[in-house]
């Protein structure tokens, strides 16, 4: 029986299942019941996915929905705990990326695997150079690379070093490399994330061409507009699970966003009293020199948690970094506790009562090889309670670290052990403790629970609640949707370095936030903002 027309929400799963039964060989890839666990964490659970030759199949889901794990399984980078893969009807078991390649599966990841100091042609053939004995066949290599690039329509000097290429050009090299093996299945992980409009169009052209040649393409993107333009079918994932597969032609924006959301909000978010006091932090028309922040205005009051939500790389953390002096400010005003700040540096901002908890605790948060005690006290070492005239008060330092560690719930608290010995959750607690060791009434948390287990998460949220209710003005910058939705008293949505929407606790709505992320239905709001700017 044909599915009812007009019911857009009707899934095509039934259809496709019928098809697979009757026309099995038509599928070029079939993933069934795949699960992947890391310790107690399940990254992928009973996942299914199928790909036909000559189709662009989009994988859609929030950050952490399991998309990367799935494509890593398909490309042979990781082995699943359970489940089967069929390529062109035959069961396969990949032990390495090399295995997958031999079956005609090529992947182009967001993170490039190019050697920056080698030339384009050297990179394309890296590891599989055409050679005679020990001698490279340079001429042949050049001919092959140039032929391939001409065929794909890439205009690139094949002798140029990769380091001198733009990101888009580097992507072309990566693409050429992937296509050299003439794949039947091509995986593209957000291929347009860093491309300009024109480059994006060129990328689409190429995808169309490959599709016409019968290549099956798995395409990951966060942009709904892109799905409509290029996708044939969409598979939506959430929490490591398969949700649904729908035809792009018969689905609307809303369908997709609804499929992507609808998660159960975990109950561990505390109820935080909202009794806003004076304005502690005010940002007016802030723009950064990098251009990553533009026309940004917001304010945060005492006893209030303000969330900044947005996709990874949308510029939301740059706003926080600009306040703490980690991002150079081009124009605009930052006011802390009524005082205008110019030429912010971390040193100065700490003295003004601003604390910043970084999102990257390994690169810029902790001294991994040093002891927990030294990490906990580093920020406040210069304060009169821990030193006088440059001499450390070592006994006070120890008791200070002890009580701070206990307050943060670092378990087990071993002050003299290197902090690298701790799990992510305990490290995060040390980082937060360290950052807040000094008196602060404006606290900026950049991804406060990144890489932290559930138990530690609850403790961190409880701690945030205590801080806010004790009078601090708190900013949470987070890519974790439920976190930022549930913890915030007020929420700002950031896209392309701009604040595109803001809402109070009562109005916070996941669909509205997501529309802000993708820029689907906020044209009116944006027009308003544009108008306000020109006045």
């Amino acid at each position: 029986m044909p599915p009812e027309r007009g019911n857009e929400l009707t899934t095509t799963t039934i259809q496709t299942e019928q098809k697979t039964n009757s026309a099995m060989p038509e599928l070029i890839l079939r993933v069934q019941g795949v699960s992947k666990r890391y310790g107690s964490v399940t990254a992928l659970k009973d996942m299914q996915f199928e790909l036909r030759p000559g189709e662009v199949h989009v994988l859609f889901g929030e950050n952490g929905a399991g998309k990367s794990t799935l494509i890593n399984v398909i490309s042979g980078a990781i082995r699943p705990n359970e489940g089967t893969l069929h390529v062109a009807g035959k069961p396969v078991d990949f032990h390495s990326v090399h295995d997958a390649r031999a079956h005609g599966i090529a992947a182009m990841f967001q993170e490039f695997s190019l050697a920056p100091h080698l030339s384009v042609e050297e990179n394309v053939f890296l590891g599989s150079e055409p050679s005679a004995g020990i001698w490279l066949k340079r001429g042949e290599r050049r001919r092959l690379v140039q032929e391939a690039m001409a065929q794909f329509g890439f205009e690139l000097d094949s002798q140029k070093q990769v380091i001198h290429l733009t990101r888009a050009q580097a992507q072309m090299v990566e693409m050429t490399k992937a296509l050299m093996v003439k794949p039947r299945i091509l995986i593209l992980d957000e291929p347009t994330a860093s491309l300009s409009q024109r480059e994006t169009e060129a990328m689409f052209e190429l995808v169309y061409k490959l599709r016409a040649q019968g290549v099956g393409i798995i395409y990951i993107t966060h942009r709904i507009k892109e799905i409509e333009e290029i996708g044939d079918r969409v598979t939506v994932m959430r929490d490591g699970m398969y949700i649904d597969t729908v035809d792009v032609a018969t689905s609307s924006h809303d369908t997709l966003v609804e499929l992507m959301t609808g998660r159960s909000f975990e109950s561990f978010y505390p109820d935080i009293k909202h009794e806003p006091g004076d304005v502690r932090l005010k940002i007016h028309e802030l723009a950064s020199q990098s251009g990553g922040v533009q026309h940004c205005s917001l304010e945060v009051r005492a006893r209030e948690i303000v969330g900044l939500a947005g996709l990874v790389g949308c510029g939301k953390s740059r706003i926080g970094r600009a306040v703490f002096g980690l991002e150079k400010v081009a124009s605009g005003e930052i006011t802390v506790n009524g005082e205008k700040i110019t030429q912010a540096t971390p040193r100065k901002m700490l003295a003004k009562g601003v604390a910043y908890v970084t999102s990257d605790r390994h690169k810029e948060g902790l001294m991994l090889a040093r002891s927990t005690k030294e990490n906990l006290t580093l920020t406040s070492l210069s304060q009169p309670n821990l030193s006088s005239k440059g001499w450390l008060k070592t006994r006070q330092e120890k008791t200070f670290a002890q009580s701070l560690g206990e307050r943060m719930g670092v378990k087990p608290l071993a002050l003299t052990k290197p902090v690298s010995a701790y799990s992510g959750g305990n490290q995060q607690k040390v980082l937060i403790g360290k950052s807040l060791a000094r008196e602060a009434n404006v606290i900026i948390f950049d991804e406060p629970t990144v890489g932290v287990d559930v138990g530690a998460r609850v403790e961190v949220y409880q701690f945030l609640k205590e801080l806010a209710e004790a009078g601090a003005a708190i900013v949470i910058i987070s890519s974790d949707m439920p976190e930022v939705l549930n913890m915030s008293h007020r929420l700002y949505v950031v896209r392309d370095g701009m604040i595109v929407d803001s809402m109070d606790k009562a109005d916070i709505d996941e669909t509205r936030v997501l529309q802000g992320f993708f820029g689907t239905e906020d044209t009116q709001l944006q027009n308003n903002l544009e108008g306000a700017r020109h006045e």
């Binding site: 703490f324 980690l326 971390p346 040193r347 700490l350 003295a351 910043y356 970084t358 690169k363 810029e364 948060g365 902790l366 001294m367 991994l368 090889a369 040093r370 030294e374 580093l378 920020t379 070492l381 210069s382 030193s387 440059g390 001499w391 450390l392 070592t394 360290k434």
Partner: protein, 336 residues
Amino acid sequence: MSDGIVPAPQQKLRNLIRYGFINLGILPFLLVGSILFFGLQEERFLSSLNLFNVARHSTFLIIIAMGQMVVLLTAGLDLSVGAIVGFAGVVTGLVLQSILGANPEAFAMAVPVAVLCGVLAGMLVGSVNGFGVAILGVPPFMMTLGTMTSLVGISLSFTSGLPITGIPDRYMELLGYGRILGILPAIWITGILFVLVWLLLNQTTVGRYFYSVGSNIRASQLSGINTVKQLMLAYIFSGAMAGLTGVLFVARTGSAEALNGSNYSLQSVAACVIGGVSLFGGSGKVRDVLLGAIFITLLTNGMNLTRVESYVQQIVLGLVLILALVADQIRTKMLS
């Protein structure tokens, strides 16, 4: 008895050695081993006269290595310390000559001025290094290699390539071979400096920040630490220590030469590394650096006494350095 069973006392000793190795590193074993070895080989080795000799010889290396250590803690490297020894000596010699040349009676004034000038000369070079590393962002290896090369040229041109002689005997006695309570001035100075450096690194904020900058410079910046200042201070401190060594070197040898002390650059790094200072910054103890420097001197001294050829000595020193590094790798693995 079957091979599989280890007698209890032997087992205990093994555990003790294992425990000692994990907690203290390989240095104590090297020290004890070499003392036993040379002591058995050559009875003069453990004579008080020879031990006194070792102490005297190790002072310069200890002072320089303590400066080098502070730079290494910040994840840097100072190759210019050897050249600074020569340069500071030349400056001291020239200042002494010119003051005493104008007024031979002005000895009481000439010595402090000359010593100060020597140390300041070292600090000046250190601040150039610090400027290059902290502000211009030149890699420490290249920056200090550059100053080292130039500095030798500068020293040579100051002296027209000839050693400065005629250092007054009173100067040599005061800072060189004289005795204070029966102990050489250089040993006094080294002892005092050791205490001061220990205090600096363990009891002051500045000292703690050397570790933090070397351990994670970004985290230090975010914690409100002036990282540029810390890096500058490290190189200036290293320069001062090498400068002071230059001053003492002149007092011991009675002549100031551009190439005095040029071996110390690499030897000081070796002393630190044998003492467990990480070349990647952020960890190391001054006590172990002291022992590292003493060990290198002891080894050289022992080989001299047992008449090991100087070429062979070099081979042994190199091998010991590699052994120490390999042992440190193994220890790091055992720790984790």
